[in-house]
Amino acid sequence: MNKTLKILILFLVIVVGVVFLLSQLMKGSSKKEVEEVINGQLFRNTEKFNLKTVLSDTTINLEKNFPYTKYFESANYSTGKNIAIDLATLINFNKGDAEKTGMFYSELLTNKLAEYLKPRMKNFSIDSFIYLEKWAEQFKSYSEVDQQNSIMHEIVYDYWMNSITTNLRKLDSIDQGAKFTFKYKYLRARCAQEKYLTSIGFSSTEKVMNNLTQQKWGYIIKRFFTETSIFLKIGMVLFLFLTLYGYICIIKQHTKGRKR
């Protein structure tokens, strides 16, 4: 075989190998555009909203007439102290019925708040969820100290922790590289500490690596033959052939040079 042709083949083998490796690496780190962080002010609103004035009319239908947007734009639900004040106002409005109030307030801070946040969370941002997790975490402590409204606090906490893990999973399915970022790992670890596990499945590459480290050779070969397309099989055989041929060329060239 012509020497130039051999070098050309060798060059081709190296290029194919490098391109394959790079494509695999790029796949893992490709980053999608994410929306701007949920407004950091969301849970840091300073302006309070006077719930008492709205509820001064004791005949209103609470669920229908509650000023949801105004409430979510206020600082009323950002700290435990504010929440306690509003809960007392609502219990008073419900003539001392703590259970009824708890149901309304937990609905307000779960489904209703989620509805309000939805347009702001169309795309994902880890920072948004870190804010959210920090905010939700306080309800766990409230559930321990505020026995009267314990279940209500637990519901709010559970709802948002579940929501965060679901969104972390979604983010992983959109951006395979996200789970390797510090913020993602931090949030995932925080959730796991609270026993909200963000179950992320094995990616195809991770599955192969897992099987390789466990030395499941028979299983890998069986899966390769039964589950891959004919094109991939041909591609892999060609790649193997070219790589081997490249090595043979190198060895031959090396031994030839020695003999001289």
């Binding site: 779960t110 909200y196 596990l197 179950s199 589950e227």
Partner: protein, 287 residues
């Protein structure tokens, strides 16, 4: 003196072996078979719940002392008459169980996954499966049956508190068949052609409940396999109703061991992985 020493050594060896040996079970309650139905091969283990002698036990995760599932199983299995041991629900890339998981009253995972099947393994050895979509999950609590819709946060909290209180074991998985209806769709389920394993509970014409673990070694999609196995249970095994059928993990933790009635390990029907790698284990035993 020599004879005394020899006797002590022999006695120690005998006692050690007896401790780890599987003791066998009543063969009238268990049927292990390799069958071919409609051209497809299956391995079935049929266990009758008549008299409630055949029981289930589930190890969902490591315990609080960080003992692995395998270590926990080994300790528990001493002196037990094991029928089979299999990998249970799915695990993630951290080898943690996926979906709501409670192990013997200890919460392992509170995240609700998108699987319809919620399995409760009672301390008494019974198994109950609910369809989460129906919103009527029933559990024995405070001496009575309570119904919850775990999709609702309020009910979910109360359900988990109850499961912790009664020391129940709970896990989530794909619900494939429920009350004779196939619950998995052709287009919205795994299309991967692969071997599969299922756990099913069926009622025969006399109303006796039988539990089945079915190995389907041939490659098929989740929907196709479900359809075929349901057919096998109804027509091939003469069952009146498939009460539920769920998926068992044959992926990264394909663990499966079956024991014959005399307590010896069945070498023909087995998984590809060693028990020690299991992230969770479903065990059937005779008591």
């Amino acid at each position: 003196m020599k004879y005394i020493l020899l006797t002590i050594v022999l006695l120690t060896i005998t006692l050690t072996n007896t401790g780890s040996k599987n003791l066998g079970y009543d063969k009238n309650l268990v049927d292990i078979a390799s069958t071919k139905y409609n051209g497809n091969k299956y391995e079935t283990i049929m266990m009758s719940r008549k008299g409630e002698r055949v029981k289930a036990k589930y190890f969902a995760a490591k315990d609080v002392n960080n003992n692995s599932v395998y270590q926990r199983y080994k300790q528990w299995a001493v002196g037990k008459k094991i029928i089979l041991v299999s990998s249970g629900t799915y695990m993630d890339n951290s080898f943690s169980p996926v979906g709501i998981t409670i192990d013997n009253g200890v919460i392992v995972n509170k995240s609700l996954e998108n699987f319809d099947g919620l399995v409760i393994v009672y301390a008494t050895g019974g198994i109950a499966v609910s369809n989460i979509k129906d919103g009527n999950l029933s559990i024995n609590c405070d001496g009575g049956n309570k119904t919850y819709d775990v999709k609702k946060p309020y009910d979910r909290i109360n359900f988990m508190n109850c499961a912790v209180e009664v020391g129940a074991t709970v896990f989530q998985t794909h619900l494939l068949v429920f009350k004779n209806d196939i619950k998995v769709g052709q287009s919205n389920s795994s299309q991967t052609q692969r071997e599969r394993r299922f756990l099913a509970a069926c009622k025969d014409e006399n109303g006796v409940v039988h539990h089945f673990v079915i190995n389907s070694p041939g490659n098929c999609s989740l929907y196709e396999c479900t359809k075929r196995v349901k057919e096998l249970l109804i027509n091939g095994k003469d069952m009146e109703e498939v009460v539920f059928m769920i998926n068992l993990d044959t992926g990264a933790q394909d663990v499966f061991k079956v024991y014959d009635a005399d307590g010896s390990e069945n070498t023909l029907i087995k998984g590809t992985q060693d028990l020690s790698i299991a992230a969770n284990l479903l065990v059937y035993y005779y008591e």
